[in-house]
């Protein structure tokens, strides 16, 4: 069997050893319901408190500002719903970039109750148009603005500091989706609500992070519960493992950053050398580990399969690889070719020789798919 090289770490990175160890320890110690007052419950509570404290320390906020969701999508939905409801006196319009995650677009339409979100366009690299953003957040009836820290599909960083300044001047809270950033780059202090995804930094599934500054007014959108943001019991072992894994990856971040930027640069050069391939996203001001390119006259599903046969797991934003037959809204908003798309998110500690092997095999994989489609010379 061919050796496997996993290049699709966005949103679900291979499990970090620190995470699996922490999970095993926390399952032994913290399996009880943390809301109970007996010793077992208190042990679970101590682990949970420690996890939230650690996450708050990384984010530079207060422990009580850290909420734990079951999953990143649920976290984004709750953030939009609560924040919009909290400002219903002003209106229900949401301002968001065209390249926000689908969950943010969907939540913004839903929370608007008939008021369509104001979708701010991006440039060819996927970066939001700041002038248009400033105009949009200053408009009437805006309840919430949402801008990702960086785009998980194409890697491009967003001007979050300037976007937050404009939103703050308009009195509008800003939700920053740091789901592709935290653990890889510094996410900074420029947010009112911030969502982060432990799966993306290699922690086990079961929890997601939503930090909400105490100054943000949250409306009531769910039946009453001890936890108004995410009703019910938190998965304590998952929360503990997420916090421990984040500490571990941050300790190693400088090294991982340098190594992965070099690897991305090599894949970028290899992809750009293939005929009729467009490499997308900002080459510099971007996440260290994400790279996307589109191959003209290539079926994205066929290319994903061809690379999989050769031992490489990659993602794709092409329509034929999605269940909806719609191409990636991110690629569409950038004006990029949506077919033949390959999305790479490098895991940590990938050996250089595996990157070399990918760079070596990519041109032949693209050529093989093009041969089947009979498009040589077009």
């Amino acid at each position: 069997m061919t050796s496997r090289t996993y290049l699709d770490a966005g949103g679900r990175a291979p499990l970090h050893p620190a995470g699996t160890q922490a999970l095993a320890a926390a399952l032994a110690e913290g399996w009880a319901d943390p809301r109970r007052l007996h010793s077992e419950g208190r042990r679970a509570r101590a682990l949970l408190d420690g996890a939230r404290e650690s996450l708050a320390d990384v984010l530079g906020c207060r422990t009580e500002e850290v909420h734990l969701a079951p999953q990143h999508t649920a976290s984004l939905h709750a953030a939009v719903e609560h924040a919009v409801e909290g400002r219903r006196r002003f209106g229900r319009r949401t301002v968001l970039s065209a390249v926000e995650r689908a969950a943010v677009h969907a939540a913004a339409r839903f929370a608007g109750s008939g008021t369509e979100p104001d979708v701010v366009p991006v440039d060819g690299r996927g970066r939001v148009d700041l002038d248009a953003w400033r105009g949009a957040v200053a408009g009437p009836g805006v309840a919430l603005a949402a801008l990702q820290h960086a785009n998980g599909e194409v890697g491009t960083s967003q001007p979050v500091a300037a976007a937050h300044e404009a939103a703050t001047a308009a009195g509008v809270p800003l939700l920053v989706d740091a789901g592709a950033s935290l653990g890889h780059v510094d996410v900074g202090p420029h947010w009112d609500l911030l969502a982060a995804d432990p799966g993306d930094w290699g922690a086990p599934d079961g929890v997601a992070v939503l930090a909400v500054r105490t100054r943000v007014r949250a409306g009531r959108v769910r039946p009453e519960d001890d936890d108004r943001w995410f009703p019910g019991r938190v998965d304590v072992p998952a929360a503990f493992a997420a916090a421990v894994t984040l500490r571990a990856v941050l300790e190693d971040r400088a090294h991982a950053d340098t190594a992965r930027r070099q690897q991305v640069a090599r894949i970028r050069a290899a992809a750009a050398a293939v005929p009729d391939v467009e490499v997308l996203g900002d080459p510099v001001d971007a996440l260290p580990h994400v790279l996307t390119f589109s191959c003209l006259y290539v079926d994205g599903e066929a290319l994903t399969d061809e690379l999989d046969r050769r031992g490489f797991a990659v993602g794709s934003g092409s329509a034929c690889t999605s269940s909806t037959l719609e191409p990636s809204h991110v690629l569409a908003a950038m004006g990029a070719l949506t077919h033949g798309n390959v999305r790479i998110a490098l895991p940590r500690d990938l050996p250089d020789d595996e990157v070399d092997r990918f760079c070596h095999e990519l041109p032949e994989a693209v050529a093989a798919v093009r041969r089947v489609l009979g498009v040589a010379g077009l």
Binding site: E278, P327, G335, T338, H339, V375
Partner: protein, 100 residues
């Protein structure tokens, strides 16, 4: 004018790419364009939503101009894109060719 109201200059070629999934609409368009003179116009009819984005991207990569894209509307079940073929070099650019 076509029945669905798209403005079609005299002498425009038509490509029926309805029912084709990506990347086939663009491949069929490129095959047709290879046999046409610079300045020719091609009206593509498509149903695959990716074609709305991929025909303009192809045109940009090949030096053609998209005159107009119309999404499927109330009266039609398909979208149309009108392309004017550009350049005097209608042959495919060799791989990695310097455009200068």
């Amino acid at each position: 004018m076509t029945p669905d109201g798209a403005p079609v200059p005299v002498g425009t070629e038509e490509l029926d790419a309805r029912g084709l999934r990506c990347p086939l609409p663009v491949i069929h368009l490129a095959r047709l364009a290879a046999g046409l003179a610079p300045g020719s116009a091609v009206l593509v009819r498509w149903t695959d939503p990716a074609a709305a984005h991929d025909i303009p991207a192809w045109a940009r990569m090949r030096g053609h101009v998209v005159v107009e894209t119309r999404p499927p509307g109330d009266l039609t079940d398909h979208g149309t894109t009108l392309v004017r073929l550009g350049g005097d070099d209608e042959g495919p650019a060799p791989a990695g060719a310097d455009p200068s």
